[in-house]
């Protein structure tokens, strides 16, 4: 046993210098692969034998962050399962590496590169211009000018907010609902908040709405202030508000937690972005639903569009909706569920409009 362990060590000790030697050789072997991919691309045309190669670059953070990165990655994984694509991911460790990480996939002959998050927007635009043959998908990156090989996956948060507002208005017993939001300087937050207001009023014109934005502080604080979120939610609940929509990163999560602390009084909370039943587990017992952006579906649809040859540059509007009711499945009346489903259809088709301006006027 000891002998074997020692041999292992020795073997590894020998491997390290050997590796240094292969480094030189690995360099020549890698490019031919790239060259192979590169050659296949132009001649590909109708030949569909080539596997679609998809690379995803995260923002600084984890692939399994239960939020943006993970949702987008799920869309890529679906492309692996359903379209037989080869998928890989790079987790960004340092913001200085955004462009480098995108380049890594670009130079290795990948067909599609997905970049996740607003912060990678500029690096993605640059890369798209540099590599016109590669298709880029920028999650949450609004495109001001159209680049043919870059699609920004954006969302109409006002519609998700509208649905959340309608749900809150249907479910409130006191006739008072609230929302605790990040700063309205950030357009998606503004759209969530105003959509919520409009949706609630359209459902129940006499509903009383308390809605607060955390606009009094800097951007770094607006989304990372759970104490403020808690304070706001508590003061709302003191005034008989019984459904609270928390939207604004950890600040919004603070509101959800505050509601969870008073679960005995029958208050409910609505989460945001992803199904927060899985991300704020402490609030499971009060979480009515979440106003979600279907990132995974949007990413998958765009990948599929590349395969089908229908991919277009510019902005691609992803779907929004409500997450499952989970523990409130039996509490939400059937007719409300029915109405919400109809409303979702009408919102997505454009039959019902929210009339919320995209950014704060």
């Amino acid at each position: 046993m000891q002998k074997r362990l020692f041999t292992l060590f020795l073997l590894l000790a020998l491997l390290v210098p050997a590796l240094a030697a292969c480094g030189g050789e690995a360099a020549p072997t890698a490019p031919p692969q790239t060259g192979g991919g590169g050659q296949a691309q132009p001649t590909q045309g109708g030949a569909t034998e080539e596997k679609l190669k998809i690379g995803l670059v995260t923002d600084v953070g984890r692939l399994n962050d239960k939020s943006f990165n993970e949702s987008s990655w799920n869309g890529v994984l679906r492309a692996r399962d359903e379209l037989g694509a080869q998928v890989d991911a790079i987790e960004t460790q340092d913001p200085n590496d955004y462009a480098k990480n995108i380049d890594e996939f670009a130079t290795q002959g990948y067909d599609i590169i997905v970049t996740v998050g607003f912060a990678l927007g500029e690096a993605t635009i640059e890369a798209a211009k540099k590599y016109p043959d590669i298709k880029f998908i920028g999650v949450d990156q609004f495109q001001e000018e159209e680049i043919p090989n870059l699609a920004g996956l954006i969302f109409e948060e006002d519609k998700a907010g509208y649905l959340a507002g309608a749900l809150a208005a249907y479910m409130t017993k006191t006739g008072k609902i609230g929302a605790v939001l990040g700063t309205d300087v950030v357009p998606p937050v503004w759209r969530f908040g105003e959509g919520y207001r409009v949706g609630a009023l359209a459902t129940k014109p006499d509903v009383e709405i308390s809605l607060v934005y955390h606009s009094d502080v800097g951007l770094d604080k607006a989304f990372t202030d759970p104490e403020w979120g808690k304070l706001q939610a508590n003061s709302m609940m003191d005034k008989d508000v019984d459904v609270i929509f928390g939207a604004g990163g950890i600040t919004g999560n603070g509101a959800l937690l505050a509601v969870a602390e008073r679960k005995d009084t029958g208050v409910m909370a609505i989460g945001v972005d992803t199904d927060q039943y899985y991300t704020v587990t402490e609030a499971q017992s009060v979480l009515l639903s979440s106003a979600i952006k279907r990132l995974d579906e949007g990413v998958f649809d765009l990948i599929k569009a590349v395969q089908d040859g229908t991919f277009k540059g510019g902005n691609f509007v992803g779907k929004v909706g409500l997450a499952p009711f989970h523990e409130f499945e039996d509490d939400v009346p059937e007719d409300v569920k029915q109405k919400l489903t109809e409303l979702e259809q009408k919102l997505l088709s454009g039959e019902v409009k929210t009339n919320v301006s995209p950014v704060k006027p």
């Binding site: 000891q2 590894l12 491997l15 240094a20 360099a27 462009a99 890594e104 500029e122």
Partner: protein
Amino acid sequence: MTKRREIADGMKTRIAPLLASVQARLGPLAGMLRPILVPFLAVVSALMIGAIVIAISGRNPLLAYAGLIDGSWGSGRAIAGTLVRMTPYVFGGLAVALAFRAGLFNIGGEGQLLLGTLAGAWVGYQLALPAVIHLPLALLAGVLAGFIWGGIPGFLKSRTGAHEVITTIMLNYLAIGLAGWLLNDNRLMKDPSPTNVIARTPLIAESAHLPALIPGQDAYPSASAAPEIVHWGVVLAVLATIAASFFLWRTVWGFEVRTVGANPSAGRYAGINVPRVITLIMGVSGALAGLGGAIQVTAVNYRAILGFNVGYGFDAIAIALLGKNNPFGVLLAALLFASLRSGSTRMQSLSGVNADIIAVIQALILIFVAADQLVRWLYRIRARGLEERTTLTRGWGR
């Protein structure tokens, strides 16, 4: 216990003669290589254990390390990326090492570097000057900001005895808060263009750009640029290393610093103004970190952005430790850390190994360097003389 002994004995019987023969063959060179023997073995051991960790997680360690090497040294661009990555590490590492030499533990490299980026960026975008003045002024602003941010704990230490570990850590938080405040308000330093929601300054003027080493190469980078073009900052880093070495061993000030580091009481008896040395060396230490920050702004990012260039000041402590507080050791250690970081992209894409393994390897290197007795015992190396024993800090207080 017996197991371990047997392994160790195995090491002794097999590796020691190997080392001896290498030493014999290299002759005089061996004497020069001796100081880097322990750090080198620490790195080797860390890589071996890292390989085991990768294997346990079900990935191929060979592929991972091949990716690491290819990604950092496999092509011209890769090498450029590694060198650019190395630059802030060198400045941060030198900052920590110089303070160490005076017996001071500067944990504030992070804040000093951050202040350097802010000052460099401010001069870069606020002023309009010809390049010959503008660029040096931007770098000087970084130096000055770092000098002040490092000098404060030095002053407090020498006047009141406030321990520099505490004060530098506190000043890190102050620097982060200050940056958040300045970069989030467009009446202060935030880029006021209407579409901008990111906490960052406007772009600096072109006259404040630190040019690429090979002229004409800097056409590509912009705000989010790939730092893969070797700029003059790399040369400055090497020059700073030489200067730091010269300072420590060829100047009176360097002698004073080392004397204070070795024994402040003896220094005092010898007529050295110990409080002044402590204040100044902390200032110089901060200035180096600040210069590193200003170089990041003028050569890589072209603006200060909240959340960018974060963590370099902390890595710098590890780099100084690995480099045994010798400027050239710091240079080598910075190169190693930069290689690990810059190769991690290729490693991830090639082998699917999570980039966290880099942090694991770095931590292991640190354990082996800090507890160098472990390495000596493992590989049966005897310490020769006092010179080779590392004393990191003498303890608390003055």
